[in-house]
Each structure stands twice: as C-alpha cells, then as structure tokens.
C-alpha cells in the first residue's frame, strides 16, 4: 500500500503545480517556490518530490512541445490529478478542523503574554 498522505513540502509543491497550470515543469516550480516561500530549493529535490507525488497518483506528467529555448528540448509538464485535488482538500479540511478547535482565549493569553 502506497503512502498517500502529504508531507509539508509535498503539499506546497502540489499546490504550486496547481497554480502554475501549463507552466508547471520542474525549473518553474522551483523558481515559484523560491518566490512564494522565500527559500530556495534545488531543481533535483523538487524533481524528486514531483516524482514521488507521481508515484502516489497525485500528479501525471507529459512532455510538452519543443520550443526555441532550451536548445529545442521539451519540458516535462506536470498536471494535478483528481486524487491530488482530493488529497489537498483533505489536508486543508483537517487543518481547518484543528484551527477551529483552537480556543481564542488561548491565543489572547498568548498575545497578552507577549
């Protein structure tokens, strides 16, 4: 049975794939990650996460069209699957439910304490 839960980095990458749409290939994702998260990550590690998400069935990939850039090499474009969307949804719902259980008071006290 394959592991189907999402790790933190996996979740972010999966979201980025969804955000980037047609432009979701490893280099762009890594760039976008840097812009959005403020920390950088090597293309290799992004790629390995993409591969893992593919194995879990949350992503599919196919080669794009050759263009003028990149020495005519094609890009591998990733697309989020229904299962991927489901997993993101589950993850968000789970967090929301946790957030909802967090007493406001506790947060106030904490703020007061600061």
């Amino acid at each position: 049975m394959k592991e189907t839960r999402l790790g933190e980095f996996e979740e972010v990458i999966l979201l980025l794939v969804g955000i980037l749409g047609e432009e979701a290939y490893a280099f762009r994702i890594a760039e976008e990650f840097k812009v959005q998260a403020g920390r950088s990550s090597s293309i290799g590690s992004v790629h390995s996460t993409l591969e893992r998400l593919g194995d879990k069935g949350f992503l599919t990939s196919e080669m794009g069209k050759p263009g003028a850039t990149r020495g005519g090499r094609r890009k591998r474009i990733y697309t989020i699957t229904a299962a991927g969307r489901q997993a993101l949804q589950t993850s968000r719902d789970f967090r929301m439910s946790l957030w909802n259980q967090l007493p406001d008071l506790a947060i106030d006290k904490l703020s007061l304490g600061l």
Partner: protein, 873 residues
C-alpha cells in the same frame, strides 16, 4: 564588447547524461539549462556555472539515476558460477590435477611458514628482549679466534658496580644432569644456577613465589610444575624440603617458587638454584682466567635498540676486564697476552638462530636453515602457481568458441573478464581451503618429523598473507584468458582461425622450463645433503663408538669407584670399564698448559679430557708413540696429547718431555692419534688427556655384541647395590653422536619431502598439459594413424616438445645447484667432494620422470582407434 557565449559546463553536462535515467534526461537537461541561462543573465557566468554544478550534483538521487543494464546483477554471477562448476565437471581430471597441485603446494608453504615463524619466535617472549644481551668471549689463538659462551664469574659483581648503563647483570650456568630426591625417592633432572636478578631479565612466568627473594638464600630452589609433580605428587611444593645431589655432594633445599618454562625457549630447565651457592661453595677455581659463568646483561631502558650504546657498554666491559684481571696474576700468561681476550655482546634473542662464530664475529647458524626453507617455500609456491597458470591458460584456449558465441550474443568484455577471473579465483580459494585442511590433518605427523610442537595460529597476519597470495595466484592465472582472449574478434574466433598454436604457448613453455629448473635444483641439492649426511653418520671419527655406554657417577660412586669398576669388569658381557669425562659433543677447554718454547704467538687452547685408565684403549684410539695410561704406574704426573696438540706445540720427540699443567708438572708418556669428539662441522683441536678420578664424572663401559640388553640389566643391578636410591640411566655414545646431527637430519628429512613434492607437482603440471594437448590434437592423431603412422611416431610427436623443455631446464639448473650445494658443504670442516654423478642423476631423474609422465599419456592417446575420434564432424 564581446559577449561571452553562455554554455553550461561541458563536464557537468556529460556527468549528468552519464548517470541520469534516459526518460528524464531531456526534461532535466532543459530545466538546468534554463536555470543556467537565467542565472548567467541576472548574476554572472561564474555563478551560473557553480549553480549548474550544484544542480547536477543534486540530481544524484536514487530516483534519477539510471538502473544497471542487467536488471539483476546476481543473475550474471550465478550464471558464471554455474558455468564454472560445469567446466570443472567437464574437465574433471584437469580440475583435480589443478586443485591437487595448487593445494599441496600451498600446504607445503603453510608448513614452512609455521616452522619459520616458530623459529623466529624462539626467545621472543622476553619482555626486555630488545635490551637483553649475552656476553661472549673471543679468544685469539694461534689457530684462529675461538668464541666461547663461558666468561669469568667475577663479571657479575664487576659489571654491576662499574657499568652504570647496565640495569641488571645476570649470572647463570647449567648444572648438568643431577639427581634430586624427596624422602629417598630419586629423580634425574637438569637445571640452572641463577643469580638474584634472573627474573629481572628473563620473562619466565612465575606461578608462585616472590621473585625478589626466592633465589637469595643458598638453600632456595625454584622448580617447574612438572618437576614438582614428579617430586611431590601434586601437593603444593612451596616450603617443602628436598635434597639435591651433585657428584658426591648432597645439599638440603627448600622450594621457594614455581616457574613455567614456555615451549619457545632454547634455554630449558627444570629448576633454578642460588648462584651464590654455586659461586661460594661449589666453584673450585675462581678468578679472571676461569670462564665458568654465563653472563646476560639488561641494558637501561633508554638504550633499547641503540647500537651505539651496545658498543659503548662492550668497550666498558672490556676496560673493566683489563683493569681487574691485571691485578690477578696468571702463571700461564705470556707477554703480549693482554689483547688475546676480547668480550662482545650479542642480542640474547639472536643466540638461537645465530650461533655460529667465525673470527670473533657472528657468522650465521640455524638462520641459514631458516633462509633455506623460506627459499624452498618460494620455489614450491612458484612451481605450484606455474602449474595452475599453465593449466588455466591452456584450458581457456579451448574455450575460445564459447567466448565467440557469448560475444555475438552481446556479452560485454567486462562480463567475460569477470567470468574468467572468477573461475580462477574460485579455484584458488578452493585449493586454499583444501590446503588448510591438509595442514590441519597432517600437522601431528609433521610435528613428529621435525620434533617440534607447532600449532596453526590463526592470527590476522597469517590469514591476510594466505589470502593475498592466493588471490594473486588466482588473478594472475585468470588474467591471460580474461584479458587476452576476451579481446579477440568474434569472427576470427568463430571461424576457428585461432588454432591450438595461439599465443601463450611460448609463455607456457618458459614457465615449464622455469618450473623444472627449480625442481631439478631442489632434487640435486637434496641428494647432496643426503650424501653428506651419510658421510657424516658413517665417517670414522677416529674412535670406536659402537656398544659404548656411559652413565653418571654420583652419590656413593664418588668414593668407592675403584671397587665398582672392578666389579663391572667382572660382569659377563662387559669387555671394559673405566672412569671418563668424555661425552660426544662435549669438551672442557683450558689455556693452562705451558711447554718449552711457548710464546704469546703460538699459544693455543686445549680440549681437556680427564680420563680413567683404559679409556683410550676402549675407545679404540691408536697410540702412535709411547704408551697409554696403565695401572702399573702411578699416572698422577702423566699426560698424553693428541697429534694436533704435539704439532701445535712444535715439540720434537715429545715422549719423556715435561710440561706444566695448571694442576702441576706432567711428563708426556704418549701421543694418541687424532679423533673428533664433536661433530664434523668442527675441526680437530689440540687435546690433552690426564688422569683425575675426581673430575672424571662418568663411567664408560664397553659391551660385547649380542647381549647388550641383558648386560645392561646386570649392570643396573650392580649399580643399585653400590649406589642405592640413585637412578641408573645409561646412554649409548653413538646415540649421543647421532643427536649432534639432529638439526641436519631434520633438514634432510624435510627437504627431501619438499623436493619430492616439488617434482610431483611439476609432473602433475606436465601431465595436465600433455593431456590437454592430446585432447586438442586428437583429430590430428586420428588422421595420422589412418595415414599409417606408428604408435611410437605419435608418442614421439607428442613428447618431443616436453623433453626439450626439461632438457633446457636441466642445463640451467645444474650449474646453479652445483654452486648452491658447494657453498653449503663449506659449513662442514670435513665434507664429501661434490661428486659429478649426483648432478647427472638429478638431471636424468627429472628427465625420466617427466618423460614417463608425458610418455604414458601420449602412449594412451597413440593407441586410440582413429574411427572413434574421427567419427564426429
């Protein structure tokens, strides 16, 4: 401004394409290039390059790396293994020959290795081994420098007080065979007198007792566990009383300690007694001209392994000797004598292997045998490896077609190399296992043969050495087929263009010649060793040692020896009896002889024998002039010399002349023909015979032939009535004499075994090669037979090559073995002339054995029915 063209680092790209999964390559290369260009644009080309490298290295992740072409590498290994085993089965006889040859060779080498390490470990257990030195005396004589272990006992005190670089000085001396008794039960044993510091230098293990005090009282004795068991039957001996009997003296002793004597020491003893007792109470003559102590010194810790310090201590000791001995007046000293005695230090641990001295310097000894056997071991390893290499390469040529087929199916060169290397390494590992089993099961026999107690020590070094040698042999043997044959072109191989005469034949021939050269050298040398040993054993040493027995005179026999001798003479079966000091291999020496005309230049040392009346006659020594000792005269003032002594003194008409011995004026009554009391390694020295019943501590008796055993029983009964309690233990002079050659006998036994093995292994190799050749040429043989060739013609065809090789080997080997053996014979003062026929026999023998091996196999194939071998194709 010229814009630099931004291209990703070439090597990084190549590295990436080398390892990256093919299906990922395009996308990844594109991504990385995009990033590279972006960084180059925004930052700098240099940073872009660095980031490119960083990204490439970051792609070295399991998911991205290309999987091996063979989906499962173990399949290839299993395939190779299967092929290897099938090949072994298919060529079963060659496989067995190969295995037998290599494993018996390795077994030999392992045996030699065990023996050699044992030899090197003798005396190695002393913790202060690196600063333990033995004091030796070099005596310059008219007939050369004589080196003696015995040195003046006064050195003990002198070195202790005057040489500060020496931490401990130990004086010791063997007591010889004595009797010890507890409650009237007598046992024979041997031990040492040892001074208090004995345990500060030597690391014999103390089981009980206080090392500081146990040798400090004259009545103390430290015994071994085995002597304790004999005397006290298992009870704790500490504090118990025992008697010690030496000649006529009996001394009461108390056991103060138990010591353990390890196997790997050359200095074996059953007990230790107080040096002070020996020095104060037993020594008859003392002073700087009496050499009756063994002195071992322990240098200070800071001088360990310091040759300069040893030199300095040596010169200090010599200085001490000069100063101290000049006070002491020696009647026999001549002017110019001061420089005639010089002392030197030799490392104590080296005494065992380097015990031969020439001109006052260490000149080999047992170490020569150790080197000899290391050489033999290397020879045998060579011979066995050559076999293995020859057979493997020869066999591999027969498998070129297999290589062709495999290659045409796409086998890579690497996999072929792997297969052949694995095959030969596997076989060599297998023979190592077989060899270890052989050694393990044969070790007891080997131990009896060399009279040692070797065990297989499994330390890391031994294992690593054995493994690396065997891997080397395996890789060398496998490398010809692995690297040469795997390079061949598929087409040539499959067309069969590469016939039996393919490369490697020359190399193989050279190796066979080399192999037989080594074997012939071994055979010739062993024959010479045997010939010399036979000569030594049967050479007339100038005295008749047959049926001559001797035993120790002690207890009551010290007093009433005359009556005893008379009674012994009356026994039937005894043809003569007398007192003697003579034993084969032992002698006393003295410089205390003065004759008219003696100068510092012509002074010599004499071997001195205190004899009884009739001893000279019983030993069958011929009296050349004058007469022997006789009971008709009072012989106290008489002396007899041997020929060599008379010549050394330069006396004319010696009989009737008077000389001065340290025990008084003596008249020469006779001259005796030379005989050799030692072994043939030693020259005959000047000898002096005197009558002195007090110092002639043995009884010598001559038995009549035929009833020796019954006579010895009667002798024992007589001994027991005269000397109740003491043990009667007679020894044959001849056996003692044989004992002197024990190491030579061991060497000759061992080397003959190894020589036989060498020729056996060589012949196995030849046998393997010839059977391989005939197998390959079987069709040729069939066709020749069909065309009318005789069986002899075919035998000739097959064996002529091999005969030539052995002949060449003989031509190379014989001169080498001549040189080697003649230098070995130089070790003997008396040796055979090297007979030329030995070399002829060795050469012809090797040739004959080789020819028989080859010929029998060739004859077998020559008789084959041509229809059988030609029916295929």
């Amino acid at each position: 401004m010229k814009k630099k063209i931004a291209i990703p680092p070439h090597f990084a790209t190549r590295l990436l394409t080398w390892f990256i999964r093919d299906d990922l390559a395009e996308g990844v290369l594109g991504d990385l290039e995009e990033k590279f260009l972006q960084v180059a644009e925004e930052r700098s080309l240099f940073l872009a390059r660095i980031s490119y490298w960083y990204e490439v290295v970051n792609y070295m992740r399991p998911f991205a790396i290309r999987k091996s072409k063979h989906l499962n590498p173990t399949i290839m290994v299993r395939h190779n293994l299967l092929l290897t085993i099938r090949n072994f089965k298919k060529h079963r006889s060659q496989f067995i020959i190969n295995l037998a040859g290599l494993s018996s060779g390795i077994a030999c080498v392992l045996f030699i290795f065990l023996w050699v390490t044992h030899e090197f470990q003798v005396e190695g257990f002393h913790e202060k081994e690196d600063r333990l030195y033995q004091l030796l005396g070099n005596h310059s004589q008219a007939n050369g420098i004589a080196t003696h272990y015995g040195v003046p006992a006064d050195f003990l005190e002198a070195i202790q007080s005057e040489v500060p670089e020496v931490a401990h000085t130990i004086a010791w001396a063997p007591t010889g065979e004595v009797s010890v008794s507890v409650d009237g039960n007598y046992h024979k044993t041997e031990g040492l007198f040892a001074s208090k510091d004995f345990f500060d230098g030597f690391s014999y293990r103390l089981l009980k007792g206080d090392p500081a005090t146990m040798l400090s009282t004259k009545s103390g004795i430290v015994i071994t566990q085995s002597l304790s068991d004999r005397l006290f039957k298992g009870a704790d001996p500490i504090g118990k009383a025992m008697e010690w009997h030496f000649s006529g003296i009996s001394q009461s002793l108390v056991v103060t300690g138990i010591v353990e004597v390890p196997k790997n020491t050359d200095n074996k003893f059953d007990y230790l007694m107080s040096w002070d007792y020996y020095f104060d109470d037993l020594m008859q003559y003392r002073g700087w001209s009496e050499h009756n102590a063994l002195i071992t010194v322990v240098l200070d810790a800071e001088f360990s392994k310091n040759i300069e310090a040893v030199k300095m201590v040596t010169s200090k000791i010599n200085e001490v000797f000069k100063v101290r001995s000049s006070v002491f007046q020696d009647d026999f000293a001549k002017e110019g004598d001061e420089n005639k005695l010089e002392f030197m230090l030799q490392k104590y641990a080296d005494l065992y292997l380097y015990d031969n001295y020439e001109n006052g310097k260490v000149a080999g000894g047992r170490i020569q045998y150790v080197h000899l056997f290391i050489l033999i071991g290397i020879f045998i390893l060579f011979i066995a490896s050559i076999n293995f290499i020859n057979l493997s390469t020869a066999k591999a040529i027969g498998r070129t077609r297999e290589i062709g087929v495999k290659k045409s199916f796409g086998a890579s060169r690497g996999s072929l190399v792997g297969q052949y290397l694995m095959e030969s390494v596997l076989l060599s590992l297998l023979s190592l296992a077989v060899a270890i089993m052989m050694v393990w099961s044969l070790l007891p026999y080997f131990n009896t043969m060399i009279q040692k107690d070797l065990t297989i020590g499994l330390n890391m070094e031994t294992i690593l050495m054995a493994l690396s040698i065997i891997l080397l042999v395996g890789i060398v043997a496998g490398s010809y087929p692995a690297f040469y044959l795997s390079r061949l072109k598929v087409l040539t191989v499959l067309k069969g263009k590469l016939g039996g005469k393919a490369g490697g034949a020359w190399g193989r021939k050279t190796l066979v010649v080399f192999q037989f050269t080594l074997s012939i050298i071994l055979i010739a040398s062993v024959m010479v060793v045997f010939y010399q040993m036979d000569y030594v054993m049967h050479k007339n040493l100038g005295y008749d040692r047959d049926n001559l027995i001797y035993f120790k005179r002690e207890g009551k026999l010290m007093e009433n020896h005359q009556a005893f001798i008379e009674e012994v003479k009356k026994l039937p079966g005894i043809s003569g009896a007398t007192l003697t000091q003579f034993r084969a291999g032992f002698y006393n020496w003295t410089e205390g002889v003065d004759w008219p005309g003696k100068t510092a230049e012509n002074s010599v040392q004499f071997q001195q024998f205190f004899s009884g009346i009739g001893q000279i006659e019983m030993m069958g020594l011929e009296i050349l002039e004058g007469r022997g000792f006789s009971s008709d005269f009072n012989e106290e003032q008489s002396v007899i010399f041997n020929e060599t002594a008379i010549a050394a003194m330069g006396l004319k008409d010696p009989v009737g002349k008077t000389i001065r011995h340290y025990s008084g004026e003596k008249k020469i009554i006779g001259v005796v023909k030379d005989f050799n009391p030692l072994s043939l390694r030693d020259k005959i020295r000047p000898m002096v015979y005197l009558i002195n019943p007090d110092r002639a501590n043995y009884v010598l008796a001559k038995l009549n032939k035929g009833m020796e055993l019954a006579t010895i029983r009667k002798l024992e009964a007589l001994h027991d009535t005269f000397n109740p309690g003491y043990i009667f233990e007679p020894k044959f002079v001849d056996q003692d004499y044989q004992q002197l050659y024990e190491s030579e006998k061991q060497i000759s036994r061992l080397s003959s075994l190894f020589a036989a093995l060498a020729i056996f292994i060589s012949c196995l190799g030849l046998y393997g090669l010839i059977s391989f050749t005939t197998e390959r040429r079987i069709k040729e043989i069939g066709i020749r037979k069909v065309l009318g060739s005789s069986a002899f013609g075919i035998v000739y065809l097959l064996s002529v090559d091999f005969s030539k090789m052995v002949l060449v080997a003989a031509v190379i080997a014989l001169p080498i073995s001549y040189l080697a053996t003649s230098s070995w014979l130089e070790n003997f003062a008396y040796h055979v002339d090297l007979p030329w026929w030995i070399f002829l026999v060795a050469g012809l023998g090797a040739f004959l054995i080789a020819w028989l091996t080859v010929g029998s196999q060739a004859y077998k194939s020559a008789r084959i029915n041509p229809a059988k071998c030609l029916k295929e194709d």
